[in-house]
């Protein structure tokens, strides 16, 4: 029998590598396009806004000449397309303009607040992933039974409860009434402004600070917002895990694994789970994105100094550069999450690695 298997295999690997690079490049291009689209929309929005940014800047008492000078300084005295070009050019240098409500460069503000959001969303995501996948697997292992019903009920409930309301209720019950958790903010005041924030991640900074108790305080403050945020997404993760698992359990390879004598637990963990890993990764990525969004409302409730609260404050101050900047950053985070997930799925799934 002819055995061209070996040669073909390495050739295959080579083309696979080449095509995965091409894929990555294609992805990158797609992401860039998406960000460009986002830019265009946000810019269009800002130019549709009825608020006069110049007036906002120079105030009421400014003379006509001062007004014109400020208008020129803001680059608003040229045509719209040119303004857009300038906007993009400045963006390329990381310049998002000056926030009108903090008086600081928006980029600097965002660099300060974004870590807080990342921290909140990431921890919530971790909780979500562990709890959601475990619950989904439990449900799938015994479809229709009590555990499964509970998982399904929780999933639906999680997707139905407005997060701001849940946050309010949680704050009311666990902080105000029961005093179980820390209140709004990231730390108790004893630490909040005394420990140095190097990384912007409160857990890291509290851990590294010399203040004993700072870390515990950080945890106490994290618990509620993390749980509230996670609750909104965990149901979806559980539901999709369950659906994916159940779908997968119908496949023939599961029958074969059973016929080998593998236990149900082994089948779920070592056969089904790797097979739905790509799906789960995508689900988690979507969840992560939705958590970033959910942070807007959660942060407002819990006085969490992240990008969500920054954005809602900017909204009330009609602080256009800040609104645009925050929207853009969240948009870029979305695009990155999508891109990275897509890439990971392709890298780790032998079925797709071609």
């Amino acid at each position: 029998m002819p055995l061209p298997f070996s040669s073909l295999n390495s050739a295959h690997a080579r083309t696979a590598r080449a095509s995965s690079i091409a894929r990555a490049l294609g992805r990158l291009g797609a992401s860039a396009l998406t960000i460009a689209g986002l830019l265009a929309v946000t810019f269009a929005l800002s130019s549709l806004s009825p608020i006069d940014p110049v007036r906002q800047l120079v105030g009421d008492h400014a003379s006509e000449s001062a007004y014109r000078a400020a208008r020129h300084a803001l680059g608003l005295d040229v045509s719209r397309p040119l303004q857009f070009a300038h906007y993009v050019a400045r963006l390329a240098h990381g310049d998002l303009g000056l926030s009108r409500s903090t008086g600081q460069p928006v980029s600097q503000d965002l660099a300060r607040v974004f870590p807080a959001t990342i921290e909140l969303a990431t921890i919530a995501m971790a909780v979500c992933a562990v709890v959601g996948i475990a619950a989904g697997m439990l449900g799938a292992a015994r479809p229709g039974r009590i555990v499964d019903q509970c998982v399904r009920a929780l999933a639906v409930l999680g997707a139905s409860v407005p997060i701001f309301w849940l946050g309010l209720v949680a704050l009311y019950v666990f902080y105000a009434r029961l005093h179980w958790t820390g209140g709004p903010g990231r730390l108790d005041d004893a630490y909040e402004y005394t420990i140095d924030m190097h990384t912007g991640f409160v857990l890291v900074d509290a851990w590294r600070s010399s203040e004993t108790g700072a870390f515990a305080s950080a945890i106490a403050h994290l618990v509620l917002p993390v749980l509230v945020l996670a609750f909104s997404a965990v149901g979806n993760v559980a539901r999709l895990t369950r659906t994916a698992m159940l779908g997968e359990l119908g496949h023939e390879y599961v029958t074969l694994a059973r016929a080998k004598g593998a236990s149900e637990r082994r089948i779920l963990l070592s056969h089904v789970l790797p097979n739905i890993a790509g799906t789960l990764l995508t689900v988690l990525a979507l969840g992560y994105a939705s958590l970033l969004e959910g942070a807007v409302l959660t942060e407002t409730i819990f006085a969490w100094p992240g990008i969500g609260r920054y954005l809602s404050t900017a909204l009330f101050a009609s602080d256009t550069p800040a609104i645009l900047g925050a929207t853009l950053v969240i948009g870029i985070a979305f695009v990155l999450i999508n891109g990275v997930t897509d890439w990971l799925v392709h890298v780790f799934d032998p079925r797709l690695a071609r």
């Binding site: 008492h61 926030s99 600081q104 402004y193």
Partner: protein, 503 residues
């Protein structure tokens, strides 16, 4: 609970744009300036009608009535440890004028401009400063202008050291301080917190608490919760319901402090889309259509008192008569007599409490007289944007004096020089050449008693004839933990004193 040496204040800080006293003009920033900076003279904190020398030891009025010479207090030092000298004073005042940011107009009232301020503010020697002014205003007015936060004295050398691109240290001062007040800024995180550290070398003596954390808590219910649980020592700007609920709770004390803010309804007589707004009879009817009592005593109980003249109670010259009350029948009669039927108007209000509640109350009472009110809630900048461009029909607004002198308010409500100056009267398109003259006369008047009399006359006129319905004076309700002592607060926005607080 809060640590013993830290005072935690929960309030909204979202309004702060700048902590440079030559630029900051928001409620929270001017409050902070009082703790961080000092001026030559300041209103007495117990009786603001009195002036206390602060960085100045004394002053002399020039014979022409257009100059003042200050003798500086010896031994006063900045937080940096440097002594305050005449150069700092001159540099700070000139800087405020030449930087020409929002509050600079206060100093412009003296006729100072970027071009001429150098000749009007001069150091005689290290301890003496002399100021002159070209405008026809009296020296007591000039002194009052210098009590405004914009006239704060900065550590010139320190600030100059942080000059970036000729901004006179403006960018640096957004986040830092260089003053002689009882506190200095340790850390400012926009929208999050302002942390003040005690300045032991302050001329007024070292404050009792080592650190103040003024925490931005945007939501009033949360502020209340924090102080109730003990995670804040002081909570400001609480709504009536929150205060009412805390009343009588152990460990808490409530302060109700009058403020110089007056709330009023502005009718834009210049709005051509809705000509009824130019009809004085309509203005008159509107005065009978506000449920003054209901708003002040039931709806927003404790946060307002009925006040119908533009000078707030406590400001020199304030008029305290309240001739108007809710009387729908009377308003209807006035409207009928003037032949006004089915009037409608849009009402701009801020979308933050308590304004929507007030607006809805107006909507109800105006509606009862057949006037349809459509509410347009907006962010502060949107509402201001509309009033600035005079596209509003009516707006519910409030006024806080910029400096502690009746002219600050009178020149807004009772003056429309029609030269482009954006006074409130101008925004309402209220044409009042005679009244404008009278206001100008009042500010130039050097005899205090006659000055007061003039302001009473002006207020009475505005009360009865203007397109404004001045309705309420605000009270601020503050809840403190009962172990907090020595907190003081005055009438005007900047009069917030933390230096004697102990806990």
């Amino acid at each position: 609970a809060t640590p013993p040496d830290i005072l935690v204040v929960a309030q909204s800080l979202d309004d702060i744009v700048s902590l440079d006293p030559a630029e900051g003009f928001e409620l929270s920033s001017v409050q902070a300036f009082t703790s961080v900076y000092e001026r030559l003279a300041e209103p007495d904190r117990d009786d603001p009608r009195q002036l206390d020398p602060v960085l100045a030891q004394s002053w002399n009025t020039g014979a022409d009535g257009h100059s003042l010479t200050f003798t500086l207090r010896s031994g006063a030092t900045f937080a940096s440890g440097r002594a305050v000298d005449a150069d700092d004073v001159v540099w700070s005042l000139r800087r405020a004028v030449t930087l020409n940011r929002a509050p600079a107009f206060i100093l412009n009232e003296l006729g100072w401009t970027a071009a001429n301020v150098a000749e009007h503010v001069i150091a005689l020697d290290a301890a003496h400063v002399r100021i002159t002014w070209p405008k026809a205003v009296g020296p007591s007015f000039a002194l009052n202008v210098l009590t405004a936060p914009v006239a704060s004295i900065l550590d010139a050398r320190e600030v100059r050291a942080h000059d970036v691109a000729n901004d006179a240290g403006n960018a640096w001062l957004h986040l830092h301080s260089a003053g002689s007040g009882p506190f200095s800024i340790r850390r400012y995180i926009p929208h999050e917190a302002l942390v003040l550290a005690a300045n032991p070398s302050s001329p007024g003596g070292a404050p009792h608490v080592r650190t103040i954390v003024i925490k931005n808590v945007a939501d009033a219910a949360t502020r209340r919760l924090l102080v109730e649980v003990g995670d804040a020592d002081i909570a400001r700007d609480l709504g009536p319901d929150q205060v009412a609920a805390l009343q009588g709770e152990a460990g808490l004390a409530t302060l109700r402090l009058p403020s110089a803010a007056v709330h009023y309804l502005l009718l834009n007589a210049g709005n051509t889309e809705n000509p009824v707004l130019a009809n004085p009879a309509f203005w008159e009817a509107a005065r009978w259509l506000v449920d003054y009592d209901g708003i002040a005593n039931t709806l927003l109980k404790g946060t307002f008192e009925v006040h119908q003249a533009f000078l707030a109670n406590g400001v020199p010259g304030a008029l305290n008569t309240t001739p108007y009350h809710l009387d729908i029948a009377r308003a209807k009669a006035i409207l009928a007599r003037a032949g006004i039927h089915d009037a409608t108007l849009t009402l701009d209000v801020f979308n933050q409490p308590p304004f929507p509640d007030i607006a809805q109350s107006l909507q109800a009472t105006f509606g009862a007289a057949g006037i349809t009110v459509r509410i347009l809630p907006g962010t502060a900048s949107e509402v201001y944007a509309r009033t600035r461009t005079r596209t509003e029909q009516a707006a519910w607004l409030y006024w806080i004096p910029d400096y502690f002198d009746p002219n600050s308010t009178a020149s807004a409500f009772a003056s429309n020089p029609e030269d482009g100056t954006a006074t409130i009267a101008a925004r309402a398109a209220w044409h009042i050449p005679a009244l404008t003259d009278l206001t100008r006369q009042a500010v130039a008047e050097r005899d205090p008693a006659r000055r007061i009399a003039l302001y009473t006359q002006i207020q009475t006129h505005v009360q009865a004839n203007s397109p404004f319905v001045i309705a309420l004076q605000a009270h601020e309700q503050i809840v403190l933990r009962s172990n907090v002592h020595g907190y003081q607060q005055g009438l005007d926005a900047d009069m917030v004193y933390y230096d004697r607080v102990s806990k």
